[in-house]
């Protein structure tokens, strides 16, 4: 027997405090709540669609605006930063890109929306049912609080679509509170069976959608075999910097200290914590024509001087790299305007490099590194990552970084394990 109060004590009205009250009090608020949930589901759907579109490893536009006429954006944006961050998905080493948080949000919003409409159009709306809806609305509110805090404190970027979900969550909570207090109190035993059913249904809806995703997400990736290899990895001249670490898998990062993509890559690598499994060496490849003949214009003016400082003071190279990433915009601006002022700033901050930056010896080191790149026929781009001599494909260096790197490390550790 159903414990849903189909009959009710009153079909249209109930007695309360000496007067009859309509049994559908709160319906309008619940409908509004359902609409807010639909809005949240649309936002989560857009975010999920953007995420899934990147599973092919290609460059796609990301929807950055929820406003009418807002266009999707290709290239760097807060939305892209959010999508590529490790907080955008779970199980990133198990699935390429991971299981997107937005997908779970999509299911939760859709479920709560459907639940709100189901309650709204029941014969009698009581606080017993709206109470459950109120509790359910705490799920997206809690998730929004967590991911909103991460965006503010760790990412420093907000994407409008995500904000749309936060707003929808907040609205749902407010509307759930209002509808709860507007609904009639209800009577009789608590409908625990119905609550349990809804709770299980919610879990099943989210679980099933995750299952569909896990089963249908593309997993045959040719890029896991890498995109080229080092042909002459020996370093007789000592042009590669060694970064201290505890890892054992040999890896080489090709970086430009003033390259924004390198900074993002470095952040993602550190956040993945997989860098701790690598014995990392770094080849400096400044995309600055003042020292690099392979680029015709200085994409990152000043990169040669920062690179020289790192090579002049190898013990501090990792710190200098972190400093240059942190102050990248300022250093780029200075490099473009006044090379001498940049050298002064570098040597003031890093005195060990003083008397070395700008000399023929430091320039020789840069040139030797670039000639090492020629010997190995490296692509003229940064960043690049080579794991055990094998180059990670460019399409795997962002969303699929954890999955691919984990796979490459495991393949190096267990070469007979088969792999892909």
């Amino acid at each position: 027997m159903s414990d849903w109060d189909e009959t009710g004590n009153d079909s249209d009205k109930r007695w309360s405090g000496g007067q009859f009250e309509p049994s559908n009090r709160g319906r309008g608020w619940l409908i509004l709540l359902g609409l807010a949930a639909i809005f949240g589901a649309v936002m989560a759907g857009i975010s999920t669609r953007d995420f899934i579109s990147h599973l092919d490893g290609q460059v796609h536009a990301v929807s950055c605006s929820v406003m009418p006429g807002g266009e999707a954006v290709i290239g760097a944006s807060g939305c892209k930063e959010a999508m590529l961050s490790p907080w955008s998905s779970f199980f990133r080493t198990k699935y390429w890109g991971g299981l997107p948080v937005a997908l779970l949000g999509f299911a939760v919003f859709a479920f709560i929306g459907a639940l709100a409409f189901a309650v709204a159009f029941s014969k009698q709306i009581t606080r017993r049912d709206t109470g459950f809806v109120l509790l359910a609305s705490l799920v997206p509110v809690g998730a929004s609080a967590i991911w909103g805090t991460l965006a503010a404190t760790r990412l420093g970027e907000f994407c409008q679509v995500c904000v749309g979900m936060y707003v929808a969550s907040g609205l749902m909570f407010v509307l759930a509170v209002v509808s709860h207090f507007r609904a009639s109190p209800g009577s009789g035993a608590w409908p625990w069976g119905r609550f349990g059913l809804w709770f299980v249904e919610g879990l099943v809806a989210v679980g099933l959608l995750s299952g569909v995703y896990a089963m249908r997400a593309p997993d045959e990736r040719k890029s896991l075999d890498g995109c080229g290899a080092l042909v002459s990895p020996e370093d007789p001249k000592g042009v590669l910097l060694t970064f201290p670490g505890q890892g054992t898998t040999p890896a080489l990062a090709v970086l430009d200290p003033l390259c924004p993509a390198c900074r993002s890559f470095d952040e993602r690598l550190k956040l993945s914590e997989l860098d701790q499994r690598l014995a990392m060496k770094v080849l400096l490849f400044p995309l600055d024509s003042t020292c690099n003949w392979m680029v015709k214009t200085s994409l990152h003016p000043g990169a040669c001087q920062v690179s020289e400082a790192m090579l002049c003071s190898p013990a501090e190279a990792e710190k200098i790299l972190a400093w240059s990433f942190e102050n990248q915009e300022h250093l780029l601006e200075l490099g473009a305007k006044d090379a001498k002022a940049l050298t002064d700033e570098i040597t003031t901050r890093w005195p060990a490099a003083k008397g070395c930056v700008g000399t023929s010896r430091s320039k020789d080191k840069i040139t030797s590194g670039l000639r090492w790149a020629v010997e190995n026929a490296l692509p003229v781009l940064t960043p690049q990552l080579y794991v055990a001599g094998k180059r990670m494909c460019d399409e795997d260096t962002d969303l699929g970084l954890e999955f691919t790197l984990h796979h490459m490390i495991e393949q190096h550790a267990n070469p007979t394990a088969g792999g892909r």
């Binding site: 290609q58 999509f106 189901a118 569909v212 003949w293 670039l370 190995n376 460019d394």
Partner: protein
């Protein structure tokens, strides 16, 4: 009806998202299958190839580099007679080859009857070496002024070229030096420099310069030709 109402939330909460997500995933899979990994038009790191690398220059460089031991890493150098035969050019035409490289040529000057580098000479060699960029060959073309015997000038010319090589090796201890440096010891017999070269980058740029002084020298230059 009541039972149906119970499954509305899960029905709508699952089927609508699942419908869209399945479609998007199918599209991503098709796109992934169509894509080739790493298929981007990115240039590959290579040695420099400047505009002055004419076919004629490349031919001469290759001949000289091969005959002077550069390509087989012997670095033994070429004597004036070898050079004249190899380049198959007149002295003036040979010197004219360096004209497009005026900005990167350094002229290391020596005292009369001396093969010793001074401070300015050492600094100029280091500057030239560190500015090699992606160039393939480093040429040292040494000469002597036409004073004294041909033999003694050949010795001076050899000594000057060796002094440049020795300084490079002592300073950089780079195994590439022997593979990259070619010595052309011209003595007084072939391709003497005119005073026009006094205007070029000289290690004694502040000092006066005449035809005798400019030929007590070693011209050093990287050649940016992918050969």
């Amino acid at each position: 009806m009541g039972a149906l109402r119970h499954i509305i939330p899960i029905f709508l909460g699952f089927t609508f998202p699942a419908y869209f997500v399945s479609g998007w995933l199918g599209g991503a899979e098709a796109s992934l299958r169509a894509a080739e990994p790493g298929a981007t038009n990115v240039a590959v790191a290579s040695m420099a190839e400047e505009g002055y690398c004419t076919a004629n220059l490349k031919q001469i460089v290759r001949r000289v580099a091969g005959a002077c031991g550069l390509l087989d890493a012997q670095g033994r150098g070429c004597q004036p007679a070898d050079a004249a035969k190899l380049v198959a050019l007149s002295g003036d035409d040979f010197n004219a080859m360096f004209l497009p490289m005026k900005e990167r040529v350094h002229i290391i000057q020596f005292d009369k009857k001396s093969v010793d580098l001074d401070e300015g000479g050492r600094a100029a060699i280091e500057t030239a070496w560190s500015a090699r960029g992606g160039a393939s060959f480093f040429f040292v073309v040494s000469r002597a002024s036409p004073e004294g015997s041909v033999e003694s000038n050949q010795e001076l010319s050899n000594g000057r070229a060796q002094a440049v090589l020795a300084h490079l090796e002592a300073t950089y201890q780079d195994p590439d030096i022997k593979k990259r440096v070619g010595l052309l010891q011209l003595g007084e017999e072939f391709a003497q420099l005119s005073t026009d070269f006094c205007q070029w980058q000289r290690s004694r740029g502040g000092d006066e310069c005449d035809e005798m002084q400019i030929n007590r020298s070693a011209i050093i230059a990287w050649i940016d030709c992918a050969i």
